[in-house]
């Protein structure tokens, strides 16, 4: 049985649609992996890549500008990460830029973040090595946290010991807080001071009336009155001057 022209056309359109989708998908995937278009390469070495994988994004000022091309171990402590970047961002990436390994959100993939260290500087060359900032190892953080926890344990044990002694009324602070004798002694001392000062003021009043010291207190009183009179005169003079100046201005 022969195929009709209509069948042939429809089959052709169908086949072209399928092939177009395949080519389109290949192109889109290739584009996202920087397989088409101009690119340049740089690399960096890391002590710990933290699960970074080939194909992960490279980000510069928050924009995806490339991908991780390859990762290989070059020594017992370092891995080399080759990056492929879009050529259009080449003029912005300087030789003093720093690459670090970041994460795309809490659950996201690992990625390389390139950050410019400062303004100016020469452009990075094709195939050049970029400075890297190694990610903090979770093991190190845990070890530090363990040391902090040990110290905290010692401190809290000491504090607990002090608190026990204080609450038991031992030591200066404990006796101060929990011993009533000290409070009673302090109360007696304050009462004695009050009595002493009252007696002292009575003695002073009696001295003022004594004929040996009466002259001294009268001279003192006179000098005080003289000072007050001089002060009053100065104030009056000042007032008169101000009034005369005010009248001149009005004229």
């Amino acid at each position: 049985m022969k195929a009709t022209t209509g069948q042939k056309i429809r089959t052709g359109i169908f086949a072209f649609t399928g092939i177009f989708l395949l080519v389109g998908a290949v192109f889109l995937i290739g584009k996202s992996k920087n397989m088409f278009g101009d690119t340049f390469h740089i690399y960096g070495t890391f002590r710990n890549v933290g699960g970074l994988q080939v194909g992960n994004n490279v980000r510069f000022v928050g924009v995806n500008v490339g991908t991780v091309e390859s990762i290989r171990i070059i020594s017992d402590t370092e891995a080399r990460v080759d990056l492929i970047l879009e050529d259009k961002v080449h003029p912005y990436i300087k030789a003093n830029a720093i690459a670090s390994i970041g994460s795309d959100g809490l659950m996201g993939d690992k990625l390389i973040v390139i950050s410019a260290s400062e303004e100016g500087g020469v452009l990075i060359k094709e195939g050049a090595r970029i400075a890297t900032n190694n990610p903090t190892d979770m093991g190190e953080i845990v070890a530090k946290m363990e040391r902090v926890a040990d110290n905290a344990q010692i401190i809290t044990a000491g504090l607990a010991d002090i608190a026990t002694q204080v609450s038991g009324g031992k030591g200066t602070l404990g006796r101060l807080l929990y011993n009533d004798d000290i409070a009673d002694d302090l109360q007696g001392t304050v009462n004695n001071i009050k009595k002493g000062t009252k007696g002292f003021s009575e003695n002073m009043e009696a001295l003022k009336g004594n004929f040996l010291l009466r002259g001294y207190y009268r001279r003192k009183e006179r000098k005080r009155k003289e000072r007050e009179e001089v002060q009053q005169q100065q104030e009056q003079t000042q007032q008169a001057d101000d009034d005369s100046k005010g009248k001149k201005k009005h004229k």
């Binding site: 049985m1 022969k2 195929a3 069948q7 042939k8 429809r10 089959t11 169908f14 086949a15 649609t17 399928g18 092939i19 989708l21 395949l22 998908a25 290949v26 889109l28 995937i29 290739g30 996202s32 992996k33 194909g55 995806n64 959100g105 809490l106 659950m107």
Partner: protein
């Protein structure tokens, strides 16, 4: 019949041997000069174009449903932005190839089995042999080749329509621009996702066409054998698809994709 029930292993090997012989006939006739282009294009139309509505609707609903089903769980983890990525990878890698292949097994393999079975019953295939034309080249090669080419294309179309369904599903609960959705979807897909799945569908297409042709071509002369041929074609093709899928997953894992 008694032999078959007494020695089921023997009948299994006999069936396997017949299938290998039939496959050999297919490959021998594949490279003969006078290829039946007209019949091949007609089969492409029947197998590919005529299956398009079924495949498109299936693909759209698969994308739509996967998005709706996964959305609450992803939302609970605060990972809604991963839905396009998850849907794209699951559709391209596994769901669309297998589901579309199973649907094609139901539609195409049974159709081929019934068509060739009825031709066998009505002795048309014998008549072709007697008249000097090559029934394998005319009936079998064209159908299997059409399946090999059309099933991958149908799967690609289902992938694309599935993306549209997923986008529609996501937009029921939130506003996502199509550019953002397709950017997220395609940025996460790699050649390691697309190409193994594409090559897998070629083998699915071969299984669908080959089993349909084998069951139809080798059916008995009784009237009921048409139904049996169609039925066993669907069952065997579906089984083959699942087995090929299992092998393909192991292969792609072994190759590091």
């Amino acid at each position: 019949m008694a032999d078959a029930s007494t020695f089921p292993l023997k009948s299994i090997f006999e069936e396997a041997g017949n299938q290998v012989i039939f496959m050999g006939r297919f490959f021998r006739n594949l490279f003969r000069w006078n290829f039946e282009w007209e019949e091949f294009i007609r089969q492409c139309y029947m197998i590919g174009y005529r299956s398009l509505p079924l495949v498109a609707i299936t693909g759209f609903i698969i994308g739509f449903v996967i998005t709706l089903q996964s959305e609450p769980t992803m939302k609970a983890f605060g990972a809604e932005s991963f839905i396009p990525k998850m849907v794209a990878i699951s559709l391209i890698r596994e769901i669309c190839p297998v589901v579309i292949a199973l649907i094609c097994a139901g539609k195409i393999s049974s159709g081929i089995g019934a068509e060739l079975g009825s031709m066998q019953v009505s002795e048309q295939i014998d008549a072709m042999e007697v008249s000097g034309s090559n029934p394998v080249q005319y009936l079998v090669v064209t159908r299997i080749l059409a399946c090999i080419i059309m099933v991958p294309l149908l799967t690609l179309i289902a992938d694309a329509v599935g993306f549209a369904g997923s986008y529609a599903g996501l937009n029921l609960s939130q506003r996502v621009s199509p550019i953002l959705f397709f950017n997220k979807a395609f940025n996460s897909v790699e050649f390691g996702d697309l190409l193994p799945a594409f090559f897998k569908t070629i083998f699915f297409g071969f299984a669908i066409g080959f089993i349909g042709c084998y069951k139809g071509y080798n059916s008995n002369r009784g009237t009921e054998s048409v139904g049996i041929a169609a039925n066993s074609a669907v069952v065997n093709a579906s089984l083959w698809i699942i087995v090929i899928d299992g092998i393909a997953v192991q292969l792609t894992n072994a190759l590091g994709y």
